[in-house]
Homo-oligomer: 333 residues x 2
């Protein structure tokens, strides 16, 4: 089975996906009988286009100079070409715009409206317009998958199917590696918040403008997607009660420690509420992970807590989640 | 869609499954359009049989006195009735016989040979004759699922599909709650092995004859299933290098602790080998869980370690895994 794919965004995730596919192409063909043909790769200022299939090895080797390829067409936009490319899957990997979800939101809506399946690693559209996207997919008989939007490679969204014989009743999670790194360092070294933040920035764990991470907005967006997907809710990020970690002091962390607790930035469901804020966690609780890891504890009705953890960020981590979604879409075609 | 089911074994798991189905029957009908009709429940000495469907509420209420039901037929055997019951699914929940896998192995082989799908919580057949069972299922176009055989409710076997875009390269796990409880108590309280074992027996975490647990045979069987399922191997329990925990002393645990380690009974893959033995684990490693929990760390090629944990035993825990498998079989019918 050949599947025609259009990739939107050739940043860290998009470029990692190309590398991953070059490596796993033969395995995917042998195991599942699927061949992915990339007919277009869009960036903000144009696209690589070849209806016969782009040479992704060559594009990978060109790295950031891919605009020198003879397939490059300056200034063209996906929504003007979406019908004529005869696509099976659009893969959306652009960076998140937390206010509008654009341009990813319009691309996803455009794809589904034209009966094209969607894989996304961009979470914005899903915490802003979850219900609209799901409804549109259903109306058009399309699949939309977005495992990479929450905790990257950790297959937490697949738990809906994997726990279908159980009942998930609540969520407690650490979904932002930057905050967890900062709190872990403050706890281990006794340093103040701004020192730990600066260290995180130097190591590349925090952005130059870390607001979305340290104020809790990033974690809140992921919590919305988790709750909608696993608990059947229909919330947006506006429904989340959000507190960041900027007011945490080395002193408060010390006080917690003397009582056997750590301070963690948790994303939780409480009754029918979504809350992101610093909370005390017992030192020997599985949620007390350190570094940039993500962890999600699902409370279940019939089997207590079920916990997943792993790396919450990284190009190949997200790309492996995207590829997973692509294969699952193709197998359900 | 109506699915005719035969349950083998009305012990803890079988009885919990009936209770779970009574509770979730309406939800399963509404959500998936599936109605499970139990036409037979076999025990070692006979069966409850009604081709029109047994009244499972009544049977549940009778508890251990189910043999008083007018549907009870003394002395009949599943293999003599397997063809005339017109079954869609056989659910195997008998206790594990570690040497022969019987009677579960013959029941499973009989079911698949007669084109009946199988769900099992009994791991014996799978660590003794994995390849034979898988081949038979494929030859007959049947589904066989056994999520409950490893770590109970933790959906670790579903990771094969959920991580299809990644590559699982190795496994490190704690798969026996009894051993982990004993080692946790020795570590926390400084008591010797036999004191901790006695405590585990009093609390119901260890059997009167704890040999299979403390000598590592139980964990080894589960490791075989994990490796075959997630790494594509084709091993049996004879291929596992097994050491138990009976020689661990409070002194050795103390020595480890002074260097920042704990002693854990790990089930691991090393190159192409399967090993179950006590190993040192760093105190802040996610594998350092306490109590009767199970934990599985999957090493992956593209996204580092992905870790799942949860309760590894219990009637409802296993029953929820069984129900999960039943629903997935019905949805793929």
């Amino acid at each position: 089975m050949e599947q025609k794919v259009c990739l939107i965004g050739k940043g860290t995730v998009g470029s990692s996906l190309l590398k991953l596919l070059i490596e796993k192409r033969k395995e995917i063909k042998d195991k599942f009988g699927i061949a992915y043909k990339f007919v277009a790769i869009f960036e903000f200022d144009g696209a690589l286009i070849d209806e016969e299939g782009l040479d992704i090895e060559q594009i990978d080797q060109m790295g950031v100079n891919f605009r020198n390829s003879k397939s490059w067409k300056l200034g063209i936009k996906i929504l003007d070409h979406i019908t004529q490319l005869d696509l099976d899957i659009i893969v959306e990997t652009t960076p998140t715009n937390p206010e509008t979800g654009e341009p990813a939101l319009s691309t996803i809506v455009g794809a589904l409206s034209n009966n094209i399946n969607v894989v996304a690693s961009n979470k914005g559209p899903f915490y802003l317009q979850y219900q609209k996207i799901k409804d549109l997919a259903q109306e058009n008989g399309c699949q939309v998958r977005y495992e990479g939007t929450v905790a990257s490679c950790v297959p937490i969204l697949s738990m809906r199917e994997a726990l279908v014989g159980n009942t998930i009743t609540g969520i407690r999670a650490i979904l932002n590696g930057t905050c967890n790194y900062i709190l872990s360092r403050m706890s281990a070294e006794g340093v103040q918040f701004d020192v730990a933040l600066k260290e995180a920035q130097e190591l590349g764990y925090a952005e130059a403008d870390p607001t979305l991470d340290i104020e809790g907005y990033d974690a809140a967006g992921k919590l919305v997607i988790l709750a909608n997907e696993l608990l059947g809710w229909s919330k947006t990020i506006k429904d989340v009660q959000i507190k960041g970690i900027t007011n945490i002091t080395a002193h408060s962390i010390d006080l917690a420690k003397t009582e056997g607790y750590v301070i963690k930035h948790l994303a939780i469901t409480e009754n029918d509420k979504l809350v992101v804020e610093p909370r005390l966690v017992e030192i020997n609780n599985p949620l007390n992970i350190s570094g940039t890891l993500n962890v999600i504890e699902l409370q279940t009705k019939h089997a207590g807590p079920i916990i997943l953890m792993g790396r919450g960020a990284g190009g190949f981590e997200a790309a492996s989640a995207v590829l997973n979604d692509m294969i699952n879409i193709s197998l359900n075609y």
